[in-house]
């Protein structure tokens, strides 16, 4: 196979694998920029994937599945919000709790409802997002380079993938060009400034958390309705944590998030493609090592290559009026 074809295929699967990462990392961006750390991205995504799988199977409607995913994820976000904003609890503990509760309850409910070992039944075509083929994708398939890029890389993705990539500039615009964004960034840096300006810190943070829930919900729906055909247990497989790592790696900036997620996605795509592949000089690399590669590189990158990532100053700290 010629080199360029390999590149296109690798890029294509990078885009696919990156999609949930981008959505989840943007979700984290909204809440963390507002000063609420969220380690529960993983749990929310998993819960959303499960809800999407169930509802899409029962209703046979992909959109009902997406809606259910968003609903469940927003509800979980509100639980996190209630614990960490209203009750001023530990944001880490609340996030971890959500991860555990979801990991356990999706399996139990799945087994109780469908008796397929924690899975939801496989979805038919109507229950899944079908790929969008851009116009003339087939016609230009054989045009070298440009045609290959157009039909092989740009065309043929799930609508949610296009949405995820559109959400990057959209998130930037919301955060930097709207009143809501200005206030959201302010509340993550100095909630006192927001409070004294006559804006409710609590309500603002709740709105940020809801934004997070919506995006996590779409990420979860992507997993079970687009990448897979139904929910399988633990199907997020640490993607929420990788998204969190990407968020830090990107220093909480939308544009950087895109590149960080593409990098992590590429590592994953690379590992999948070259499983059991005999490399020149090295020979066959054990599957386990290939699978661990993205995580190992994550650790190395985060430890040494990004310089100092300065988190939002008020991040992780519940707001209490000073006395």
């Amino acid at each position: 196979m010629d080199f360029f074809q390999v590149f296109i295929e690798l890029a294509q699967s990078t885009v696919r694998v990156s999609t949930p990462l981008i959505l989840a990392a943007l979700a984290g961006l909204f809440t963390e920029r507002a000063g609420v750390f969220d380690i529960g991205l993983e749990g929310k995504m998993l819960g959303a994937a499960f809800a999407a799988g169930c509802v899409a199977y029962i209703t046979q409607s992909v959109y009902m599945g997406l809606l259910a995913a968003i609903l469940v994820s927003v509800l979980l976000s509100l639980v996190h919000g209630y614990a960490s904003i209203t009750q001023r609890g530990s944001q880490i503990v609340s996030g971890v709790a959500i991860n555990f509760v979801v990991a356990g309850s999706t399996v139990i409910l799945g087994e109780a409802w469908f008796r397929q070992g924690g899975r939801t039944p496989a979805l038919s075509e109507s229950g899944r997002f079908s790929a969008i083929h851009l116009p003339f994708a087939d016609a230009v398939r054989d045009v070298p380079i440009l045609g290959q890029i157009y039909s092989g890389l740009l065309s043929g993705h799930s609508p949610l993938t296009y949405l995820a990539f559109l959400m990057v500039p959209a998130s930037w615009w919301i955060l930097y060009r709207t009143r809501f964004g200005l206030r959201l960034r302010a509340v993550g840096e100095n909630p006192g400034a927001v409070d004294t300006a006559g804006i409710s810190v609590i309500w603002l943070r709740y709105r940020a958390v809801i934004c997070c829930g919506i995006l996590c919900g779409i990420a979860g729906a992507y997993l079970s309705l687009s990448a897979g055909a139904g929910f399988t247990k633990g199907m997020t497989a640490g993607k929420g944590y990788i998204a969190l790592a990407a968020l830090i790696f990107a220093k909480w900036r939308p544009k950087n998030i895109l590149f960080a997620c593409l990098l992590f996605g590429f590592l994953d795509a690379f590992a999948i493609r070259y499983q059991g592949f005999a490399f020149p000089l090295i020979g066959k690399v054990p599957v386990q090592l290939m699978q661990a590669l993205p995580y190992i590189l994550t650790v190395i990158l985060l430890a040494g290559f990004i310089g100092k990532a300065i988190p939002p100053k008020a991040g992780g700290v519940p707001y209490v009026k000073e006395r």
Binding site: T178, E189, A197
Partner: protein, 511 residues
């Protein structure tokens, strides 16, 4: 008699068992600068927070411009024409000036439309009040004086007629403070009403038209500034006569106890904070280090006391070299006769969750006299703590009380008692009276002079220039990490102020 801008009637507020404000009545005339003075914990800030809608009073009425208003949140305060400049600035540090000013007053969902308007309005305000500031500068890159100006502009942008300033000069150089007072004078000329909260008597005398004194949650008196005196106000604040001038005799400097040569210290970001500093400290003298906060004084103290590693330079303590560039051990330094009262008592000087008696031996806890077999001799520790409590008049006199429950002044006395009673040769004191009340300040100052008269070498760092001038026998001024001059304690405030601002004095220029 002109009309009233603010009238408070019977304001009462409790936090749990603490009665912060007791039946407060206050009248502030329109177009005046009205001072509110009182010790820490007298309830000034609580009262202002009620006026700004941060807290709600339990009882009482607020009348603004003749109308009773219900100020249930800062929005209502802003609507009533009240603006507040907080002691700790309420600015978003990585935002620009313009973004900070717009925050909460953006006018539309999408920023762009508002930005142009805000920029124009800001220009107008700058002109009207002579408050120049670059709208696109990022806050964290601006000096504190300018940051404060942004806070004032924020209030004016929201069309405030009444401006409350809470301890506005704490972070300013004397020159910046003077500039602020000129601005306030200008605001007054434009018909604005200014409420100035402070515990500095000098400021009250310099700028206010009227002054109200608070003590222990009550409003004890209101005076016309021109008809009162510093002594009377101090007495009203504390409730007894206070000696404002520190009385001290001639210093009798003897041998060099601490010798610092070419000390250079960098902070964690690699920025040089102390730059080639050299000085000697002799037994029986107090050397004061003056400077605006953040010019390397903190790092200097930390390096000498072994908390922070220096980049280069030497320090001799009692003639013996201290490994300041390597592993200077604070415990070892203590044994060699160095005592250190850290600037930040809450984070470095005390463990607030410990009992008083535990903090009274902190750092000296491995002394055999506190030991009984394998455990601490709690009885001996408490007995000693009680002696110190008596000697330093620490209140409440309970060695088993949690340290967090003592007031700032008493916490500071706990640290001072611990360090001074070890009979050190060299005593290093950072900010001895930060957050300490007038009454306790008098006591602490007397103790420091006593230490000197006992032949101790005292190094004093303080951002309070008055304190430096009152206590020191020699004054070193630090600016941008360097010692930019040495002056006698009778140097004028203006001269020191210029040095502190980095404007070199005529002496250095001639050299």
């Amino acid at each position: 008699m002109s009309e009233l801008a603010i009238e408070l009637k019977g304001i009462d507020k409790s936090f749990g068992l603490v009665h912060a404000n007791r039946n407060i009545n206050l009248k502030v005339r329109k177009g005046t600068i009205h001072g509110i003075i009182g010790e820490n914990g007298a309830g000034k800030s609580t009262l202002m927070s009620i006026l700004y809608g941060f807290y709600q009073a339990d009882h009482g009425d607020i009348v603004i411009n003749g109308q009773t208003v219900n100020i249930r949140d800062p929005n209502a305060a802003i609507a009533a024409g009240i603006g507040m400049v907080h002691q700790h600035f309420m600015l978003v540090e990585n935002f620009t000036v313009l973004e900070n000013i717009m925050l909460g007053a953006e006018e539309s969902q999408i920023l762009n439309a508002g930005i142009t308007k805000a920029r124009a309005e800001l220009k107008r305000l700058e002109k009207e009040y002579a408050l120049e500031v670059d709208p696109d500068a990022v806050i964290e890159e601006l000096p504190v004086g300018i940051q404060q100006r942004v806070e004032i502009l924020k209030a004016l942008y929201r069309k405030a007629d009444i401006l409350i300033l809470d301890e506005p000069t704490g972070v300013l150089t004397p020159a910046e403070a003077d500039h602020l007072f000129r601005i306030l004078g200008q605001l007054k000329d434009q018909g604005k009403t200014v409420l100035l909260i402070t515990h500095k008597l000098r400021e009250i005398m310099a700028i206010t038209d009227e002054v109200s004194v608070m003590r222990r949650g009550e409003m004890v008196a209101t005076r016309t500034t021109s008809e009162t005196s510093v002594e009377e106000l101090a007495e009203l604040m504390v409730g007894r006569r206070v000696l404002l001038r520190v009385e001290k005799g001639e210093a009798r400097p003897a041998d060099v106890k601490l010798s610092v040569k070419n000390l250079t210290v960098r902070d964690s970001r690699g920025v040089t904070m102390v730059d080639d500093v050299s000085f000697d400290l002799r037994a029986g003298e107090i050397v004061g280090i003056a400077g605006v906060a953040g010019n390397g004084q903190s790092e200097l103290l930390e390096a000498i006391s072994g908390i922070r590693r220096a980049k280069s330079g030497t320090v001799l303590l009692n003639g013996r070299p201290v490994d300041v560039t390597g592993h200077a051990d604070p415990a070892e330094l203590r044994k060699c006769g160095l005592a250190h009262v850290p600037e930040d008592r809450h984070h470095v000087g005390l463990v607030l969750k410990f009992e008083e008696s535990e903090n009274a031996i902190l750092g000296y806890h491995d002394d055999p006299k506190y030991r009984k077999g394998l455990t601490l001799d709690v009885d001996a520790i408490r007995a000693e703590a009680e002696e110190k409590i008596a000697a330093y008049d620490i209140r409440p006199p309970n060695p088993r009380l949690k340290t967090a429950n003592f007031s700032g002044g008493n916490q500071q006395k706990i640290v001072l008692a611990r360090e001074m009673e070890r009979n050190p040769d060299v005593l290093i004191i950072g900010q001895p009276t930060r957050g300490v009340d007038v009454g306790a300040i008098e006591f602490i100052h007397r103790r420091i002079i006593e230490m000197r008269d006992q032949g101790k070498a005292v190094l004093l760092v303080s951002v309070e220039l008055d304190e430096i001038r009152a206590l020191s026998d020699r004054i070193l001024v630090m600016f941008a990490g360097r010692v930019v001059g040495e002056r006698a304690p009778d140097a004028t405030e203006g001269e020191l102020g210029l040095l502190m601002a980095g404007v070199e004095g005529p002496k250095e220029a001639a050299e």
